[in-house]
Structure formats: structure tokens, C-alpha cells
Point group: C3
Chain length 152, copies 3
């Protein structure tokens, strides 16, 4: 099964990749190195969720937001590469969680994205991860994931 078949089996499909909202590229390849701009829980061009983890949003809602950001990330990757077959594998994910100062469950929230990538990309979806609880993200969205990858 390929990536989109696996998504379909989970009841998901790749959305249209969200357009950049500034003077940058959604994705870029230089030699064997690839990077994607920060991906957000955007659906149909609008934030699907807003607010802070630990105040407006529960851990479960944060996981859903992270999963949606992950789905957008996959859409960007497909759009950039044309096919997932060129992907050697993900390298690093930086996860930003807009949250109240005493929030502690960043890792559980980000697993919403990491679990999706493992499910559809297998070993190529493996990645290292960093996490930060930040004061704010654009348009008051709760989650951002930033991914680099290797390709052939």
C-alpha cells in the first residue's frame, strides 16, 4: 500500500496544501536536504482550532490539531516532491505548542502528529523531535510542526 492508500484506510485524504502566508516557500529542496515550513491545524484555508492548551483546549483537542498539522505536512511533501517515492525519510520535527505556562503534556499533544506519520510512512516517517510551549502562534493557532527530511 502506498501512502495515500494508507490514509484512505484510516478515513483520511490529503488536503490541498495550505499556501504560505508570507514571503517564504512552503517547501524547498537543496541537494539531499529538504525542509517544510511550519505546518498548522488549517482546514479549507482557515484555522480549524484556536486557543491555548491548558486553557481553551484539552490534550485531546491538541492531539487532533497536531494530527491535522501532520496531514497538512504530508500534503506539502507530496506537492513538493510529486511523489512520496523520492522521500528517503523524515529527520527532525520541531513541535511548538501554544500553551499556558504550567502546561506539562506537550509530548502527548505532539504524538497526534507523530503517530499519523508513523502509521502512513512507516520507517520513513521516523523522526527526532523537539518541543516547546510557546506564548503565541500565528492566528492564535495552538500547534505548529516544522519538519526536515532527506531525499534521493
Amino acid at each position: 500500500m502506498d501512502v495515500e492508500d494508507r490514509l484512505a484506510a484510516m478515513g483520511l485524504m490529503l488536503p490541498a496544501p495550505p499556501a504560505p502566508v508570507g514571503s517564504y516557500r512552503a517547501g524547498l529542496v537543496r541537494g539531499a536536504c529538504g525542509a517544510l515550513s511550519g505546518q498548522f491545524p488549517i482546514r479549507d484555508g482557515k484555522p480549524a482550532m484556536t486557543g491555548l492548551l491548558g486553557r481553551e483546549l484539552s490534550v485531546e483537542q491538541g492531539q487532533e490539531a497536531a494530527r491535522l498539522a501532520g496531514l497538512n505536512m504530508l500534503a506539502q511533501l507530496k506537492h513538493l516532491l510529486g511523489t512520496f517515492q523520492r522521500l528517503t525519510g523524515l529527520i527532525r520535527m520541531d513541535g511548538l505548542v501554544a500553551s499556558v505556562p504550567d502546561f506539562e503534556q506537550h509530548a502527548a499533544v505532539l504524538d497526534g502528529a507523530s503517530d499519523l506519520l508513523a502509521a502512513v510512512l512507516g520507517e520513513r516517517g521516523a523522526h527526532t523531535r523537539s518541543v516547546a510551549g510557546v506564548a503565541s502562534l500565528p492566528m492564535r493557532m495552538p500547534i505548529e510542526i516544522v519538519v526536515t527530511f532527506a531525499l534521493t
Copy 2:
């Protein structure tokens, strides 16, 4: 026109690259991968602006700070590589914006740096971008940009 001619046409010139303020390198190359330390709106060795976006600083002031950080980044790159001709192109910019919790215009602020890089480096200045609203940056500066690049 080369990079410094383009800067001159915009009324700008490369400053002296700010020195690191700790036990790290301003820039580094390992094989085909290059990285620069976080660059700030520093002028003549001192913060040119301090304060938070959404409190002490307007979006326009933030853009000016980002532009200055971008100019310092170009100075670091020239200092590191000797010539911009070795640069294949930028890869990723992580933009940190010190801001109040309800700030939403991070992207507009960071365009101050991204627009400068596009104007002087052309396609080689293209980059992906991430953004975070953070609680604080060193010396109360409002902006930090962190750039990786590919080189030959």
C-alpha cells in the same frame, strides 16, 4: 549585480558581523551543510530595539527589527564563506518573535527579513520558515532569526 551591489542600491551595506555572546560559533560549515547562529537586531554591538511585539513595539517596528536581523545574517554569511558565490541557497529560517500572548501578526513581522533576503539573493534567498511567539529573547530583543543553508 552581486549581493553587495544590490544592498547598495537599496541604501544598505553589510555591517560588521556581530560577535557571539557565548561559547558557540557565529557560523559553521560541515560538508554541504551550513548553519548560522540566531541573528538579532543588533547595531554597532548593541540592541537596536528592545521590547515585546504587541506592547512596546508595532508591527512596522518589528519588521524593521527583522530586516536588521536579516542584514546581520547576510554579514555573517559573507564573513563565514568569504564570498556569496559559494552559497547554493538558504534552506530554512526559524523566526522567533518576542510578543504578548495575544499577538497574531508574526508572519508580517518576519517578512521584514524574508523580503530582504529575496531582494538581494534572488532564488538563492528562498527559504522555508517557521515562526514562534516567545516569552523572551536575550537582552530583551524582539526578534531572532535562525538560518541553515546549502553550499558547494
Copy 3:
């Protein structure tokens, strides 16, 4: 002297590398690029320090936390590569400092990690650095360092 001899001369030894707390890898190599997940001041599987810089923790305590995160980073690198001999060198360190909004001494805190890496890895420990003051980190820990590296 090799890396572990140098550590021993400083009265330190590599701990067991902390296990990931989510759906990600502690470290990963893809071609010539390597990355490590964010490392924390964890000792014996538990946070060795909690709290914010500028409130519960002094700069000196932050440096000690950064040093411990750096020691865990070295343990992850050894575990991932088998031997430090495969390491060409570190590239980039992103340092996150959980701190009160008016904290200004991020750089001094992160030197706790950078100084350790320089002492035990020499030129291969040289790295660029970014820094952010963030609202929160997992399990209320004060420091996270995120490192990429090149290898042969």
C-alpha cells in the same frame, strides 16, 4: 584522550540515554545528516530540576541544568553511533530556556551545555546556537537543547 576519558577527567560519566517519552526516535541518521531529539536535565529517568529561570532557578542552576542536558545529549550520540569516531562534528544547537518574560541571561545559561561539548569534543563540538525563552517545557523542566550533527 577520547571523549569518555575527558569526561572522566572532569569527574563525569555518560549516563544511560533517556528514553523518548512519545512516538519519536531519540536519535536518527539519514545519509550524512544526524539529529537528536530535544535533551533535558533528566537524571535517573526523572527531571533533576524543575521551574522557571528568573523565578525558581538562578542562572547558576540553569547552567547546571544545561550541562546535564548536554551530558544526556552525549549519551544519546554514543548510543546512536556506537562510537564518537563516526562524528564529523556538531552543527546546530537550539536552546530553549523556560523563563519569566523579563529574563535576559539565556546565553549564559546555555553556555553550561556549550562549554561541556567544547571541553570533551574539541573542534568537533563546535556549533552554532539559537536561543529562546519559552513559556513552558515538558514536565516543567527548565532547559531543552536540540542538536544536529554531521557524520561520516
